[in-house]
């Protein structure tokens, strides 16, 4: 028997949906507009503002930088995050309870504060190169996400499986790679994707750390907006959205989105 849904509930749901998706549709419309200024609804249809992204040298370079920073810092974060999550899950009883809180602290601290602190310390104190600062900053930014996701998938891992392997003659380190990792593989993939998206979309940390010659896509977008108010802004936004949605679609296809919610 089909349940009868109150019309008001349907209306409310529709409103929420419009509220969430509306702005995205406006941006998409604006990006497709054939005008030289941002407008909605689009007047005439054109893809020239998408083409424009790749014609502007700064955008080409920052897209590349953003991808490089995202890939490298995600990789570094996994390299730190996997063993850290492992240790915290494996020795949960022996370790103090506040330790896992400590590892997610960077999420709780306003990112601007983190960015400023990094600027002061990395850039001013140690004179670190911009690219390196970005890698370090983004690694700190995404590490908590990596640890959260991998810890979640380790929470359902039965560590007696690891002991079984050891008792059968497999040394501990080998066991980590041949038994533990294959069983948290989906968690590692999810962490990778979440970290990657977070890094590519980051503004608040990058804005402190980018500098002459090296910038990331979202920062370049802000800089561009200050000078020009043309639909390029919208088309870059759409590009970032498409990238995010594409990555999410891959997760959804391979693992299911419920996975990230775990």
């Amino acid at each position: 028997m089909p349940t009868k849904i109150h019309p008001a509930l349907i209306g409310f749901t529709a409103l929420v949906f419009i509220f969430l998706v509306g702005p995205l549709i406006i941006v998409l419309g604006a990006a497709l507009s054939d005008t030289t200024y941002l407008t909605f609804p689009p007047q005439g249809l054109s893809l020239r503002w998408f083409q424009n992204i790749f014609e502007i040298d700064a955008f080409r370079r920052t897209i590349l930088t953003s991808l490089q920073v995202a890939v490298i810092s995600t990789f570094v974060a996994l390299l730190i995050g996997i063993p850290a999550s492992y240790a915290m899950s494996r020795y949960r009883i022996q370790l103090p309870g506040w330790l896992s809180t400590l590892f997610v602290l960077p999420v709780l601290v306003p990112e601007l504060v983190l960015g400023f602190s990094l600027l002061k310390n990395l850039a001013f104190q140690f004179n670190a190169p911009i690219f390196l600062s970005l890698i370090i900053g983004h690694t700190i930014l995404i590490l908590p996400y990596v640890i959260r996701v991998i810890s979640a998938s380790l929470a359902s891992f039965d560590f007696s499986i690891e002991e079984a392997a050891i008792s059968l003659g497999s040394p501990p380190l080998k066991t980590f790679f041949t038994v533990l990792l294959p069983n948290v593989r989906s968690g590692v993939i999810a962490a990778f994707i979440l970290a990657f998206i977070t890094s590519v979309n980051d503004v608040s940390i990058s804005i402190f750390l980018t500098g002459p010659g090296i910038s990331t896509l979202p920062i370049q977008l802000l800089a561009h907006m200050e000078q020009f108010f043309d639909p390029t802004v919208a088309s870059v936004s759409v590009l970032l959205m498409v990238l995010t949605v594409a990555v999410m679609a891959i997760v959804e296809r391979t693992l299911g989105l419920t996975f990230l919610a775990k």
Binding site: Q94, D158, S160, I161, E163, A164, A165, I166, S167, L168, G169, S170, P171, P172, T175, V179, P182, N183
Partner: protein
């Protein structure tokens, strides 16, 4: 090539908490010894120390004369069977069983043959390509058993292997485990909290409490002649009555309990009886009778429960509340007076602690 296991003066701590105290245990080659006790008694700790997952604070562990104490876990060559099976979820049944062989550099034809033969023995040859997720509990535990046996370890250890299975399967599996263990003559340590399981499967049982072995003996001896009050209670002696010998007369003694209750006991049955002792009886060991002339402990009967083979009475006596059984043929009413007559076969004498 059966190897004896020797645990000597092991003390172990979890952080500051002492969990085992000066524990020694010798298991002969080919023998199956159970560690039996409530949770927290130290039985699993003992197993994990032997497996090498924990380090003792002091003491030593040797297997067939080889010192294991400092050896890393993966070099100890011990077959382990876990409570929750601990199968590798990403490997097939055959790969699970072959895992230990692979670590020993056995591969190809030789490995396939041994895995095949082992799966045949546990009756799972037809499931070789399945993943563990697609198996029932009993099948999983058979795979775990095969995985531990196939490496032909000199020592097998079981950590509550049957507690996740249902009652019927549990009985079948323990027979199967015992048969495989006998056939291979593998020295074995079996950890369980289930008394029936421990008694039915073991050559000897160590009853543990608070990090110590209270008694290590054959199931028969433990059941009939517990060495102390703890073990007596553990194996079901409900009634522990402290008594004092007041008269000795050849083969008989007369002893008195609190409240002036007097009993005559035969030395023939109990052997030597010290001046102060504890008479330990199961409910079956105190026969309820309404014959006022019987020689027994005078009691006022309380709650009566039906056991199927007898009626059980909570009985108030001058020596305290005792639990005693009476015949089905003659149910007695609560509140009536009766005598509780000790049945020597179901009673034993304990030293005062």
């Amino acid at each position: 090539m059966t190897k004896p296991l020797s645990i000597r003066n092991i003390t172990a701590h979890y952080g500051q908490t002492k969990v085992l105290e000066d524990l020694s245990l010798d298991i002969a080659g080919g023998e199956l010894v159970s560690l039996l006790g409530a949770s927290g008694c130290g039985k699993t700790t003992t197993l994990r120390l032997v497996a090498g997952f924990l380090q003792p604070t002091s003491g030593s562990i040797t297997l067939g004369g080889k010192d294991l104490t400092k050896l890393p876990a993966h070099q100890r060559d011990i077959g382990l069977v876990f409570q929750n099976y601990a199968l590798f979820p990403h490997l097939s049944v055959a790969e699970n069983v072959g895992f230990g062989l692979k670590q020993r550099g056995i591969s190809g034809e030789a490995k396939t043959k041994r895995v095949g033969a082992m799966l045949e023995r546990v009756g799972l040859a037809h499931l070789a390509e399945r993943l563990p997720g697609a198996l029932s509990g009993g099948q999983k535990q058979r795979v775990a058993l095969a995985r531990a046996l196939v490496i032909e370890p000199p020592l097998l250890m079981f950590d509550e292997p049957l507690s996740n299975l249902d009652a019927k399967l549990r009985v079948d599996m323990r027979v199967e485990i015992r048969q495989l263990q006998r056939a291979n003559g593998t020295t074995s340590v079996y950890v369980t909290h289930d008394q029936e399981e421990a008694f039915s499967i073991s050559d000897r049982v160590a009853i543990m409490h608070a990090g110590k072995i209270m008694q290590l003996d054959t199931p028969e001896n433990l059941y009939q002649r517990p060495a102390n009050a703890f073990v007596a209670r553990f194996v079901g002696f409900e009634n522990l009555v402290p008594m004092k010998v007041v008269a000795r007369d050849g083969a008989k003694i007369t002893a008195e309990a609190a409240g002036g209750v007097k009993l005559t006991l035969s030395l023939e049955h109990f052997g030597a009886i010290p001046d102060n002792f504890v008479l330990a009886c199961r409910a079956d060991g105190l026969a309820v009778t309404d014959n006022p002339g019987a020689e027994g402990i005078p009691a006022t009967l309380g709650l009566r429960t039906y056991l199927g083979r007898a009626y059980q009475y909570q009985s108030e006596t001058a020596a305290g509340t005792l639990v005693a059984n009476g015949p089905l043929s003659k149910p007695l009413e609560p509140g009536s007076s009766a005598k509780l007559v000790p049945v020597p076969d179901q009673c034993t004498i304990l030293a005062v602690e």
